[in-house]
């Protein structure tokens, strides 16, 4: 197992190297570079000033030279300096990271708890009204645009009922732990919904398979209470593939955070990403996308490792 993890970790290096090349190419291909923000002010600006600006940012060089500079610095842990704030990109990302991780973590927990409850009960009572309802809700959860769900929740709980705050992380002048949690409810619900849908269906299918297995019949035959048959024997086996899928989806939460944070004015990386995109802040975009890709790659490995640890039948060479 250890040698497997080491080998997989080494494979991540060329993979992430490839990722940086594609990201850099895509970001640099944008027409009208960072000076676009200057030009949009509609005033006449001396072309020399613009050229000097481009030179200062280093975007006058050929893409290959820029990339060589960027990757050279990145290998030393330097992600460059943001065009719009002139602060180090790594510092800006670290500053926003806690808010995003908090949102991702809360959504993950919420989704996991709900998905397990839904999945287990749907499987135990297959084809009951509860099961059908769960299937229906799951299909809706997967087919619904995240931002629309967010708008509807804001409308119902924020505007009509007035129960929950619809934006930000705290009420100005009245911030407290409870207040912060209230602000977290809507964005976490929105971000977790499609995973509740996906994971609960997956756990249901997995449970249905396991509940038919011989060892479950044995457990019942020797007179174990149904609680311990379902919770102890069936669930422990059924959740192995589901946990692996959950680890895979952790990276998807990062993608989802972009939209969710934007709608709920949550001061995390996702919101910063959208702002960076509109201001053509190449180094910041590059840093955030690289962080996202690293998450995908690491969580992929994590999913495989967890699978190997939980399921003794899996042997990695």
């Amino acid at each position: 197992m250890t040698s497997y993890i080491i080998r997989r970790s080494l494979q991540m290096i060329p993979l992430l190297f490839g990722v940086t090349i594609i990201l850099f190419g895509v970001i640099q291909a944008a027409p009208g570079g960072p000076e676009g923000a200057l030009l949009e002010s509609d005033r006449f600006i001396d072309p020399d000033v613009i050229e000097a600006y481009r030179q200062r940012l280093g975007v006058d060089q050929p893409v290959t030279v820029q990339y060589a500079r960027w990757i050279g610095a990145a290998l030393k842990g330097d992600l460059g300096v943001s065009f719009s704030t002139t602060r180090p990109v790594a510092e800006m990302i670290l500053e926003r990271l806690p808010a995003t991780l908090e949102l991702m973590g809360a959504s993950f927990l919420l989704a996991a708890v709900l998905a397990f409850l839904l999945g287990v009960f749907s499987a135990v009572r297959q084809y009951s009204w509860f099961d059908h309802l769960g299937t229906g809700v799951s299909f809706v959860g997967i087919a619904m645009p995240v931002f629309w769900f967010a708008l509807i929740l804001q409308l119902v709980f924020g505007v009509w009922l007035g129960w929950l705050p619809v934006a930000g992380t705290e009420t100005v002048g009245a911030s407290s732990w409870g207040d912060h949690l209230l602000h977290l409810i809507l964005p976490a619900t929105v971000l977790s919904f499609r995973y509740v849908a996906g994971w609960s269906r997956y756990l249901r299918a997995s449970m249905l398979g396991v509940l038919r297995a011989d060892f479950v019949r044995t457990a019942r035959a020797k007179g174990l209470p149904e609680r311990s048959v379902v919770g102890g024997h069936a669930l422990r086996n059924a959740m192995i593939p589901v946990i692996s899928v959950m680890a895979l989806n952790l990276a998807g939460l990062f993608s989802g955070a972009v939209i969710t944070e934007t709608i709920f004015a949550w001061p995390g990386i996702g919101r910063m990403f959208v702002q960076a995109m509109f201001s053509r802040d190449y180094p910041l975009l590059m840093g955030i996308l690289l962080l996202g890709s690293t998450m995908v790659v690491v969580f992929n490995l994590l999913a495989d490792v967890i699978y190997g640890l939980l399921d003794p039948r899996i042997r990695y060479e």
């Binding site: 992430l16 299909f139 629309w148 509807i152 505007v159 972009v258 996308l289």
Partner: protein, 274 residues
């Protein structure tokens, strides 16, 4: 396959639903009671009524009309993006599985790399500087949604290429290109069709997300996504403007996904029980 699909009542209902909605949207110029950009300042911000079934927006434009016209763009982009993504993915997967060796290695590592980049953020960057018309939106979404298809098709092709009919075709002197297009791909059609169907729903959601951020097809051409973007500001006073376009997306994507599910059951010979 058709017979097996017909037993799947929900899938058939969904197929009919999708076709009907698409036809309604296509026939929008004939059916819609108004023009999609017809401004009527005497009737702005009307809630749903008999004259305006789904109400009107800030400029008095009829919401039902705009949803019908918006559906043309949204569904078209969904279909085109799915076709582009699935064709490219199938070709990559087929070449990878069929040739094996370094071709396989190269193509699959390429797939891994693209797969490692979070799709939506990358899509946002790409969409921010491509032209915001239906064709380029479809291409942009398509080029980022081929990876899953490529992997699945590769897996299929790995078994297909060992089949005797492939050997037979080769002994008759067929070229590799002919074997791939005439013998390998048709036999991998099952998962390709299912993947393509699900890709339509996915592409519609991606398009609406991009439009919602202001990166999609630009107004005055309505799409379901940019209608939602416009509606966000007036959500509390005119909630119908936010509710109906979202419902349209939900209905179409839901139906497409049910259809994909039904196709999967119908095309998978192992799923006999149902």
């Amino acid at each position: 396959m058709w017979r097996r699909l017909k037993r799947h009542r929900l899938a058939i209902a969904s197929l009919i639903g999708v076709v009907v909605i698409s036809l309604l949207c296509l026939a929008a110029p004939l059916l819609a009671p108004f023009d999609f950009d017809q401004i009527d300042l005497a009737n702005i911000r009307q809630p749903p009524s008999f004259a305006h079934w789904l109400g009107t927006d800030d400029l008095g434009r009829d919401l039902l009309t705009r949803i019908l016209y918006g559906g043309r763009v949204s569904i078209l982009i969904g279909l085109l993006a799915a076709v582009i993504g699935t064709s490219f993915g199938s070709l990559v997967g087929a070449a990878s599985g069929f040739y094996g060796g370094w071709v396989d290695n190269l193509l699959m590592r390429m797939t891994d790399v693209v797969y490692s980049i979070p799709t939506l953020p990358l899509l946002i960057v790409l969409a921010s500087y491509t032209q915001a018309d239906a064709a380029s939106m479809s291409i942009t979404i398509g080029v980022l949604s081929w990876m899953a298809t490529a992997r699945v098709v590769r897996g299929e092709v790995l078994t297909i290429r060992e089949m005797e009919y492939i050997e037979a075709a080769r002994s008759l002197g067929a070229t590799n290109a002919r074997i791939i297009t005439r013998h390998v791909l048709p036999n991998a059609m099952g998962p390709i069709v299912v993947g393509a169907t699900l890709a339509v729903g996915n592409a519609i959601i991606l398009e609406s997300s991009l439009s919602f951020l202001g990166l999609g097809v630009q107004p005055p051409t309505p799409t379901w996504g940019n209608m939602l973007m416009d509606a966000q500001a007036t959500m509390s006073s005119q909630p119908w403007l936010s509710i109906f376009p979202g419902l349209a997306i939900l209905l179409v994507v839901l139906a497409v996904n049910f259809l994909g599910d039904g196709l999967q059951d119908a095309l998978d010979p192992r799923a006999e029980t149902r």
